[in-house]
């Protein structure tokens, strides 16, 4: 018997209309855990390089984290993976809520979609009963109506429906896949639209078995209470009314303007009232004691919910206030547009208009008010009408298509992916490495475990270190003890810190943990819910697989290197690993390159950022090394980065 996982994946070929129940190999679970780890393996094995993301050969995978659906609180994230149209690399997005656990209750660890349906369909899953059903009547429908109509059709109000809106149907790169209050944003939405899958409805009534029931339950009950009481975990943005941090420090408009003195007490009070006058309640995800979603009922709008920085993106892009976000977000969400990249793309387009690169004639009938212009462009993008057809490809691709110097205005993307608009004065080595090398393709990048700032008071600092359970090795505590200025730590420390940060994200994404109770929450206060010391015991109790910290760390390294190898095969190279030119005012090109080399070396990668044969072999990824050698991406004789002649030149 398989514990915590069902042992089956649902494979659907939309071209042929075939539906297969495929038993999976438990040895792969032991190697890759689940989520994005197993997805990377499937993409590596089945999608050869050169495959057009919009070809039937691309896969779209909805993969449960290993611990989803178990009593482990805060484990519910399903990883959605594909080869992303926006940059041709592995696309990775996560959604919490109920979809993943419900899928597991239906008896499936993951769904693997391939092929392309001749016309719009939706997939209905009720345990072993899986149907591909006609969805032509749902064409152009918003998220909410699609979900409601499907539940009515299936006569099942308890089903969970993951759906795309018009934006996804039109293969917009800004499209997301939503289910209830959760959303897998960007990279994956356009592929679902391309496969002509409007929605996936899931209902499950099967058992998820657990290996060591009583001990696991005891541990989870304790963890639930701890997470509930721990103010460091969960989404502060759901409850903290002082949002001066984002508004004073992040850039507005097309990631261009900083308003350092924007926030005031008067504003805070006004926004607090605005929120509580319209908030129905706060909601959570499956089995999580944190309620991170604010549910808002705005006049003349359908009730909706938001979380995290999604609260700020629209009004900051439009230089408006919170009421604008509350007004536009329910419309944008229903069209199936992501709330990070969409406002940036709209602000980018309006900036091009101001700069004369785009002309009035490109925006026929556009109103003059800024708010109205956002609505206008929202609809143009969702339905790919006129200029919206170009903008639907996101900032980077749109700049390329527009030409005429528009590329200069694409100044907030890495690997063609819109980033948080954080423009700093000078380089912070750890932040540089994270934003340059992260392949999460998610807005959080890979920060989160190591604190963002040093603690000046030695007593408080020692107190912090004493309580710092999450730290995987005492060297981190030692570095923290020495740390005085934010950007000043030895390079070795910076490199190891980034690696730890990254480790936690990869573990979360393969186990199903939400970053808000795990990888993302050590950076403030240190006391996060999950770390490399309690994760192994949880895995053992739930799955029966014996785990310890070292074995877990190796799983991270394996998944990390597999993703890197997959992306290297898809064309990712060192020169692409750079933040936007204006990301900090003073650039130190030489130092950045040295850091990159050191980081690659630490990771066991070549000077070009590709895992060496030895690195891959040590992680039971010999077949990956063989493949890279066969394709001429590796020779098999490369040394790690610092031992490369180019690195030696770098030093001189």
């Amino acid at each position: 018997m398989r514990y915590t996982e069902t042992g089956f994946q649902l494979e659907i070929d939309l071209t042929r209309g075939s539906i297969d129940k495929v038993e999976t190999d438990p040895r792969e679970t032991a190697l890759h855990l689940g989520g994005n780890g197993i997805a990377a393996k499937l993409l590596f094995d089945r999608v050869p390089p050169g495959t057009d993301p919009f070809s039937p050969d691309n896969l779209l995978i909805f993969g449960n984290g290993l611990l989803n659906g178990t009593p482990v609180p805060g484990a519910n994230r399903v990883a959605v993976n594909t080869i992303a149209p926006v940059n041709g690399l592995m696309g990775h997005s996560l959604m919490g809520g109920m979809f993943g656990p419900e899928l597991k209750l239906a008896g499936w660890d993951r769904i693997v979609l391939r092929g392309k349906s001749p016309d719009l369909v939706y997939i209905a899953i009720h345990n072993d009963k899986v149907e591909i059903r006609d969805a032509r009547h749902l064409r152009g429908k918003g998220m909410h109506d699609t979900s409601r109509l499907i539940k009515e059709e299936l006569k099942d109000n308890r089903a969970w429906v993951a759906t795309i809106g018009p934006a996804g149907e039109h293969r917009s790169y800004l499209a997301s896949i939503d289910c209830g209050n959760s959303s897998a944003a960007r990279t994956v939405g356009p592929v679902m639209g391309d496969k002509k899958v409007k929605a996936i409805a899931v209902r499950g009534t099967k058992d998820i078995h657990l290996a060591h029931p009583a001990e696991l339950w005891e541990m989870c009950s304790r963890l639930r209470k701890e997470l509930d009481a721990n103010l460091n975990v969960g989404d502060w943005m759901a409850t903290d009314e002082d949002d001066s941090f984002h508004h004073n420090n992040f850039s507005w408009g097309n990631a261009r303007v900083r308003r350092k003195n924007f926030w005031s007490k008067e504003l805070e009070e006004r926004w607090r009232n605005l929120k509580y006058d319209h908030m129905s309640r706060q909601t959570g995800c499956w089995n999580c004691p944190k309620a991170c979603h604010n549910v808002i009922k705005w006049p003349n709008r359908r009730r909706f919910s938001y979380k995290c920085y999604g609260k700020d993106t629209y009004h900051m892009a439009a230089f408006q206030e919170l009421d604008f976000t509350y007004e536009i977000l329910p419309i944008a969400q229903d069209l199936g547009l992501d709330s990070y990249s969409t406002p940036q793309t709209i602000a980018f387009a309006l900036e091009l208009l101001g700069a004369g690169i785009l002309a009035e004639k490109d925006f026929p009938g556009m109103p003059s008010g800024i708010r109205e212009r956002f609505y206008y462009l929202l609809h143009k993008i969702a339905f790919r009408e006129g200029i919206g057809d170009i903008l639907a490809d996101g900032v980077s691709k749109a700049a390329e298509r527009i030409g005429k110097g528009a590329e200069k205005y694409d100044h907030n993307t890495v690997k063609k992916f819109e980033q948080l608009p954080i423009k700093l004065g000078k380089l912070n080595p750890a932040y540089f490495l994270m934003i340059a090398t992260g392949e999460d393709m998610a807005i959080t990048q890979i920060e989160g475990s190591f604190p963002q700032d040093p603690i000046p008071d030695p007593e408080i600092r020692e107190e912090f270190i004493k309580k710092w359970v999450a730290v995987p090795d005492k060297k981190f505590a030692e570095w923290f003890r020495q740390w005085e200025k934010r950007d000043q730590l030895p390079d070795d420390a910076m490199v190891a810190i980034v690696d730890w940060n990254e480790c936690m994200h990869y573990l979360d994404d393969s186990l199903g943990f939400c970053g808000f109770v795990s990888s993302f929450r050590g950076q403030f206060g240190g006391a996060t819910g999950y770390h490399v010391w309690n994760m192994p015991q949880i895995i053992t109790l739930a799955s029966g697989m014996e785990f310890d910290k070292d074995r877990l760390w190796k799983c991270f390294q394996r998944n990390r290197n597999l993703v890197r190898a997959l992306n290297a095969r898809l064309g990712l190279r060192r020169f692409m690993e750079r933040p936007p030119e204006d990301h900090w005012a003073v650039r130190n090109e030489e130092y950045e390159q040295q850091l990159l080399t050191k980081y690659y070396d630490f990771k066991g990668w070549t000077f070009d950022g590709i895992p060496t044969k030895e690195t891959l072999e040590n992680l039971s990824l010999g077949y990956v090394a063989e493949d890279l050698i066969k394709r001429g991406i590796l020779t098999g004789n490369e040394a790690t980065a610092l031992n490369d002649v180019r690195a030696k030149k770098e030093k001189n």
Binding site: I208, H209, P213, R281, T283, C285, C288, R302
Partner: protein, 182 residues
Amino acid sequence: MDNEGKKTRIVKDIKVDTTKCAGCRACEIACSAFHAIPKFSSVNTARSRIMVVMDEVRDIFVPIRAGDYAQAECNGRNVYVIDGKEYDECTFCPASCPSRDAFKDPDSGFPLKCDMCEDVPPLKKPMCVEACTFGALTYEEREEVVETEPQKFGEMEIGLKTLIKKYGLKKVMDTIARVSKE
């Protein structure tokens, strides 16, 4: 039992505050795990005896517990408006009923009913309440006065009384003494 034909008993109840429910389904998970055999060996919310009726757009979050089995679906399809929100009658209905698959064991189809997690030794509070960190569910024990009916005579008593009336007490007792010796 007191003299006035009344007695008190402990009534166990779970109170629901729908304004506090965050829709996390921890109650469903805890219930299904507790009732799994062996205990906590599996999670299956479809086996849970508590269910959160959820609809974000209408802001409806109502945890209901399984009550008695209803043999036929009711005619009631009333809509109630509470605090400006429209609720279907089913939203509050705890019945395992032919018109829906709630509160039926997914394998056997048998109805499920909340048993307040009776256990040996008894739990401090039912599992769903224990799991609800939002305070939407609270456990309550209250004393309730129950009227007791006046004592009724058994069949044999009625028979004897009739015999005594007819033959007199002495004759009846003599007869019983003689018969019991035979």
